[in-house]
């Protein structure tokens, strides 16, 4: 089974646009939306919910009225999560659920409680299984939820004998992003030709290399700044990085998004053609063929 992860570093470069289109260009596929705190893939793929799962990530501390306000918990907490008072209380946004306060409390007034941090879903998009999730806004452990999405996608792919999992990754370089690429056979980084895009591309590439994944790059909206695009191309060349294609800026993409469809499902456009060429290159790679 081939796992293709689409990532970007910088947000909004076009991961979901590309992932959504790939879903209709491959035959034997499972889609996994790993951007669990801003999931969008289900908005451009028709989907029918099959099953919902609850996700319990970390725990959170809770202080009971047995609290004697001694302040030991505050002294030992390294996360600034204790709020003074009689009784003391916990700032749930700061608490990481480590249990230090529980261990130091002389009045046995603190306990750790299970904390539901989100849900994940198995849906059906026409013939394609779609695994997606929603982190409860403000929660941590998003990397853990990403891992659940990936695990379920792998199970479904094995059960239904699908050959490819396409992962719509999380932006950034932290735990949700790295959890999106763990186990990926190939990582596709979507770049954009801007100063920020170049800067963030360098950081995500360094991250992908840190986790020793095979990878390539596509440039989205390449013609919005042709000299920045040329820079990315030569940077790829100089660093031996595979460039799988360039997608032009195309108003058809926004129209498709507003209609809730992948751009390749609309009437033919420049962007759709470019994505089809990228899909063809990916197909050769997946089947083990060598790019000439």
């Amino acid at each position: 089974m081939f796992q293709l992860a689409i990532v970007s570093g910088k947000g909004g470069t076009g991961k979901t646009t590309l992932a959504g289109s790939l879903s209709s260009l491959f035959d034997s596929i499972v889609m996994a939306d790993c951007d669990v705190d801003a999931p969008n893939l289900h908005l451009i793929l028709e989907n029918k919910l099959i099953e919902k799962f609850e996700y319990y990530g970390g725990k959170k501390a809770e202080i009971s009225d047995q609290c004697i306000s001694c302040g030991l918990c505050e002294k030992f907490c390294r996360f600034d999560a204790i709020i003074r008072g009689g009784p003391y209380s916990i700032d749930p946004y700061a608490c990481e659920g480590c249990g230090m306060c529980v261990a130091v409390c002389p009045a046995n007034a603190i306990s750790l409680k299970d904390n539901k941090s989100g849900d994940y879903f198995l849906s059906q998009s026409n013939e394609i299984p779609l695994v997606h999730a929603l982190l409860t806004p403000g929660e941590e452990t998003s990397g853990g939820l990403v891992a659940e999405v990936r695990k379920l996608a792998i199970n479904v792919a094995e059960r239904e004998r699908k050959e490819l999992i396409v992962i719509d990754g999380a932006p950034g370089i932290g735990c949700p992003a790295t959890s999106s690429i763990t186990g990926a056979t190939y990582v596709l980084a979507v770049a954009e030709p801007t100063v920020s895009g170049n800067h963030d591309l360098a950081r995500i590439v360094e991250t992908i290399r840190h986790f020793k994944r095979d990878f390539g790059i596509v440039i989205n909206k390449w013609d919005l700044n042709t000299s920045k695009s040329a820079f990315i191309e030569s940077w790829c060349g100089a660093n031996g990085i595979e460039l799988l294609g360039k997608i032009p800026f195309d108003e058809q993409v926004e129209k498709a998004t507003i209609m809730g469809k992948p751009v390749v499902a609309m009437e033919d456009s420049k962007a759709a053609q470019a994505i089809r060429r990228i899909a063809l290159r990916l197909k050769r790679r997946i089947s083990g063929g060598v790019e000439e």
């Binding site: 700061a94 403000g138 932290g174 100063v195 800067h199 129209k255």
Partner: protein
């Protein structure tokens, strides 16, 4: 006054808004601009700030003294993050899972655990053009969480100034850390179903944290009206809308501020700030 710029969805224009706003109002106010998107900080690319101070952010990781360790397993049992495992050969520490809470050191009956610092990021501070105070957090490659870096960055907040914080995307813990104790949030969105979906998530957070907020619609083409419908249903103020304009996109792609080349936009950004001040009762 502390204003955070956030978005839910990535790439909607947080940095465009934060940088242009800071620059426009720095003519009339003392401004501090902080980049809290420590995973992918980009604000500095628009200014070339002069960095005066650099601080490393450390996480305290456990070090096991093999001589003293009896492999009793109390540390692994206490750790909520699965960062310690007992093997025949000793106790192993999985650094990437460790939150640096210190509980293992505390519970070890043999006092076999000490701590050593590991650098997980940096906070840099300095000045932009001698007039704007600047700060940024940078997460080290391979590190899982920017929360501590953001917390340290925010210790630099100077409440005598107008503080503008560029937030990370999404709605997870790093955004919450950015939003703690801010006075106002600007939610930047784009007029697409993606923008709307993620805007709703961002609204949920700011409402839960009881932070006053308003929305800015970026790259507005007028062809998608659901954002306005949602805003009016929820009585959310749309503070400003920035049209889709190739020249604005090009300025951004080159790392330039469009308020610098367009005086009328500079005035509109000043007015945007005034709207926020008056809605918050700040004069």
């Amino acid at each position: 006054m502390v204003i955070a710029v956030l978005s839910g969805k990535g790439g909607t224009g947080k940095t465009t808004l934060a940088t242009n706003l800071a620059s426009a109002i720095s003519e009339d106010f003392d401004v501090q601009l902080l980049d809290a998107d420590a995973e992918e900080p980009d604000v500095h690319l628009f200014f070339d700030p002069e960095i005066e101070h650099e601080e490393e952010i450390e996480l305290m990781l456990p070090v096991i003294d093999k001589e003293k360790c009896t492999r009793c397993g109390k540390c692994a049992e206490a750790c909520q993050f699965g960062a310690l495992s007992v093997f025949d050969t000793g106790v192993m520490v999985f650094e990437s899972l460790c939150h640096g809470c210190g509980l293992c050191t505390f519970v070890c009956p043999e006092k076999a655990i000490t701590e050593r610092p590991k650098v997980i990021g940096k906070v840099k501070t300095g000045r932009i053009d001698q007039k704007i105070d600047f700060g940024m957090g940078i997460l080290e490659i391979g590190e899982p969480s920017p929360v501590r870096v953001i917390r340290k960055l925010k210790e630099n907040i100077d409440r005598n100034k107008v503080v503008i914080i560029d937030s990370p995307p999404g709605t997870s813990c790093s955004v919450v850390e950015t939003l703690r104790k801010v006075d106002f949030a600007i939610l930047v969105t784009e007029p697409t179903p993606f923008g709307l979906h993620d805007l709703k998530l961002a609204v949920k957070i700011v409402r839960e944290m009881e932070i006053p907020f308003g929305v800015v619609v970026n790259r507005d083409t007028g062809s998608y009206t659901m954002i306005d419908e949602y805003a009016s249903e929820e009585t959310i103020v749309v503070l400003e809308r920035i049209p889709f304009d190739r020249s604005i996109a090009e300025a951004y792609s080159e790392g330039k501020l469009f308020t610098e080349t367009s005086p009328s936009w500079k005035i509109r950004f000043k007015e945007l700030a005034e709207k926020i001040f008056s809605s918050s009762g700040v004069s």
